[in-house]
């Protein structure tokens, strides 16, 4: 086990203690596993609450703050949080203007958030929910649990967060969030598996010289295994996979996302190839974000997310954000 941990059982609690020490601008409830923006509830503002398994940091906990999430609920590593966390988070951040749950489309997340919606409504909180399902590696059919939520989560949380910060009502924040998701597609590649604390060894064996195409962010293998490809080939494959599922006429936001263990140096190089391919395919690019944002512990690899934007979405994307993991503007 090459992990910087004490014991697997305390990984999430330890991390929350460390977050509390690093981010005085957040309230980190270690026992109940809820991370809340210190000034919440903000009068008249719709609150955004997200959450999911831990191991994807900075998503979601480090996206709490002005302009993005009001609260986040970290589950165990790669395990959806429980409804109690979400209800507690909703109660802490609701100003009366209602709460939007941002839920990545995994069976566990969906079931737990659905239960939380019921419980929160029982407590008199107005709740809406948006599902993020952007991963084109999974076909959205009767034969699957639907497309997974991956990189688009960042765009949904950023843009809906900006709309909420502007004081928009719940229905508008919700429909903007849904629009961002509908406009987004992702594709991911793993060059090496990750190691979860609970398992203590790589979640899949990838022989040297092979890679996994269409990989998720939970250490699950991809749709297909192939002989190792160059950065250029991987960019072609990923961009083309995304464009098979969308046909952007408007400019796109591009997220070139690291899975955790791929150096920033390589990510930037990969971005160069992604941009080349987008230009070849005639896709206009509005903004580019490169870095480790939606990770999978120490998995090596990267994903590409495109989000087609109109003027309003772009303005909201550019709006100020002040969180530990994403920060720009005023």
């Amino acid at each position: 086990m090459r992990m910087l941990i004490n014991v697997p059982e305390t990984v999430v609690a330890d991390a929350l203690r460390g977050m509390a020490a690093a981010h005085p601008e957040l309230i980190v409830d270690v026992e109940n596993r809820v991370i809340v923006r210190r000034d919440a509830p903000v009068d008249g503002k719709v609150a955004l609450v997200s959450g999911g398994g831990s191991g994807h940091e900075p998503l979601h906990g480090c996206f709490v703050g002005p302009g993005m999430l009001s609260a986040a609920c970290p589950g165990e590593v790669f395990t959806s949080p429980v409804p109690d966390q979400m209800v507690r988070a909703a109660a802490a951040v609701d100003s009366g203007a209602g709460v939007l749950f941002v839920v990545k489309n995994y069976t566990g997340d969906v079931l737990n958030f659905d239960m939380a919606v019921e419980l929160a409504e029982d407590e008199g909180i107005q709740v809406a929910k948006v599902l993020v399902d952007d991963d084109v590696a999974v076909s959205d059919s009767l034969y699957t649990a639907g497309r997974r939520g991956t990189g688009a989560t960042l765009f949904v949380e950023k843009i809906a967060g900006a709309a909420a910060e502007e004081g928009r009502p719940l229905e508008q924040v919700e429909s903007l969030a849904r629009k961002v998701n509908d406009n987004s597609r992702s594709f991911g590649v793993a060059l090496d598996a990750c190691t979860t604390p609970a398992k203590g060894s790589p979640t899949f064996d990838l022989p040297a010289g092979e890679l996994e195409l269409g990989v998720g962010i939970h250490g699950e293998p991809g749709r297909e295994r192939r002989a190792m490809m160059t950065s250029r080939e991987i960019a072609d494959f990923s961009v083309d996979a995304v464009l098979e599922d969308m046909n952007p006429r408007n400019p796109v936001l591009v997220l070139v996302n690291g899975m955790g263990a791929t150096p920033l140096l390589e990510l930037y190089g990969f971005n160069a190839e992604v941009q080349r391919r987008l230009a070849e395919r005639g896709v206009p690019v509005a903004r580019v974000l490169v870095g480790n944002y939606v990770t999978s512990l120490d998995m090596a690899g990267a994903s590409v997310t495109l989000c087609q934007v109109d003027e309003e979405l772009l303005r909201l994307y550019d709006a100020p954000v002040r969180t530990p993991g994403l920060r720009w503007g005023g």
Partner: protein, 200 residues
């Protein structure tokens, strides 16, 4: 007749089985999942046992409802709400008044619990989920607890050649074939624990 003690024994036996098999469950969840099923259930059933000791509910229905709530509050993932709903709905069907229930009544209540799992998760037998163990187990329960345990085990084993249509394994498409489903495997442990509780 089965009293609260029987159901406590069931939960204790389930917790012990999950403890014993946690690594195997997590290993099964590795090639077609996210390698957490064992630790998920370990955490959940430990909480169940602790809550039962602390609150000592007096009736079968109360025991199962408390257990179900604990699973929902501590497991997370797909299996937390699903197993939590299984026990909670079974307990609700039994009600909290009766101090003892008959096997026939338990079978009906479990059938309602399994139906609730199917409704919640939208899965059917053959989708390579816990239902592939739970549904045949309830069907065989008319015969005996041991027969139910056998049926669950056979159902779990029969998930290996299936292609997953629900949950995380479904992302793998054809690549999910050839792997035994972790949730069906833990469901078989749960039914075996029921037979164990009955066997005392």
């Amino acid at each position: 007749m089965l009293d609260a003690d029987f159901f406590r024994r069931w939960m204790t036996a389930a917790a012990a089985a999950v403890d014993r098999e946690a690594e195997r469950l997590t290993a099964l969840d590795s090639p077609i999942g996210d390698a957490d099923h064992g630790s998920n259930l370990q955490r959940g059933f430990a909480a169940v046992v602790a809550a039962l000791e602390k609150e000592a509910p007096a009736t079968p229905g109360a025991v199962l409802q408390l257990a179900g709530r604990q699973l929902i509050s501590t497991v997370g993932g797909a299996s937390g709400p699903l197993y939590g709903t299984l026990l909670r709905r079974t307990g609700k069907t039994l009600g909290t008044d009766a101090a003892e229930v008959g096997e026939e009544r338990l079978r009906e209540a479990l059938r309602a619990g399994v139906a609730a799992v199917a409704t919640l998760g939208g899965a059917a037998p053959g989708d390579k989920t816990m239902l592939d163990a739970l549904v045949p187990a309830v069907d065989a329960l008319g015969e005996s607890f041991a027969a139910a345990a056998d049926a669950a085990e056979r159902g779990a084993e029969a998930t290996t050649p299936l292609r997953a249509r629900k949950g995380r394994a479904s992302y793998l498409g054809e690549r999910s074939v050839g792997h035994r489903d972790p949730g069906a495997t833990s469901a078989a442990l749960l039914v075996a624990a029921l037979a164990e509780a009955a066997d005392v």
